[in-house]
Symmetry: C2
């Protein structure tokens, strides 16, 4: 019988308050897979995508501040769950592409994302969960979270 | 610690040759969840969506033939895995909406779909996996299958 065994679980979080819940679920899965490695990633869209081109000022320092802020927030989410800092990643780029790239380069065989279930809200969030699924080279688990999602836990 | 326990796993299949693989994965998950119930569903888009309106002829008998054919194909996929006929469902409608409706009405807490990973091919397939994720009220696992997906097994 074919039994899927995951070696490396990547949790993609948006740093909203549900991120800890999504991480917890990923950790549970990792434990059931002989303590698979768990990495956590947050993607920041580059400022240039929104403001670039016409604006001559250097956005590097602002980007650095955002990056630094995101790293702190990610640590607040991941540290309590014992995720080592070297497995906490903040990357700048388009979420889908960066998550797929990271997964490919690090032998990730399961990506776990939060799913908010409400179409409108999901769209507001940039539909990371649906975007990640699209084009993924490995399994993707969308964990139902959010205001009307507690019933699934 | 929060541990997700699934009671009813719904496998949505497109009846391509990967359907058995997706079903097998769902069965594995069900076994790890104290033999959760496994239902399998295939959705047929109503002929009327494509041909309706301007065409006066009655498509009912053709729809019935398609429906009957789909039931046979679904049984060929599901019978070897011991899925009882009453848990094999062919429904007519838009895939996302029908799968969500079925899930809501039958207490499904995990939907398993196949994911082909290649953007173009996924689009050709109507992107059922991404569509199902969008708006789902429960967890969704997209299982990586397809020509370049065997590596994940």
């Amino acid at each position: 019988m074919q039994e899927q065994h995951y070696n490396h679980v990547l949790v993609a979080v948006d740093l909203t308050r549900d991120s800890g819940l999504v991480l917890q679920r990923a950790i549970n899965i990792a434990r059931r897979n002989q303590d698979a490695r768990v990495s956590i990633i947050h993607t920041l869209e580059p400022l240039g995508f929104a403001y670039g081109g016409d604006i001559p000022m250097d956005l590097t320092s602002i980007q650095d501040q955002l990056d630094s802020h995101a790293r702190e927030r990610l640590a607040e989410v991941a540290d309590p769950y014992g995720i080592p800092r070297e497995d906490q990643h903040v990357v700048v780029g388009m979420p889908d592409a960066e998550i797929h790239r990271f997964a490919g380069e690090h032998g990730v065989d399961l990506i776990v994302v939060g799913s908010h279930g409400r179409t409108g809200f999901a769209l507001l969030l940039g539909s990371t969960s649906t975007g990640v699924l699209h084009g993924a080279k490995c399994d993707v688990l969308a964990v139902r979270v959010g205001a009307d999602g507690e019933a699934t836990e």
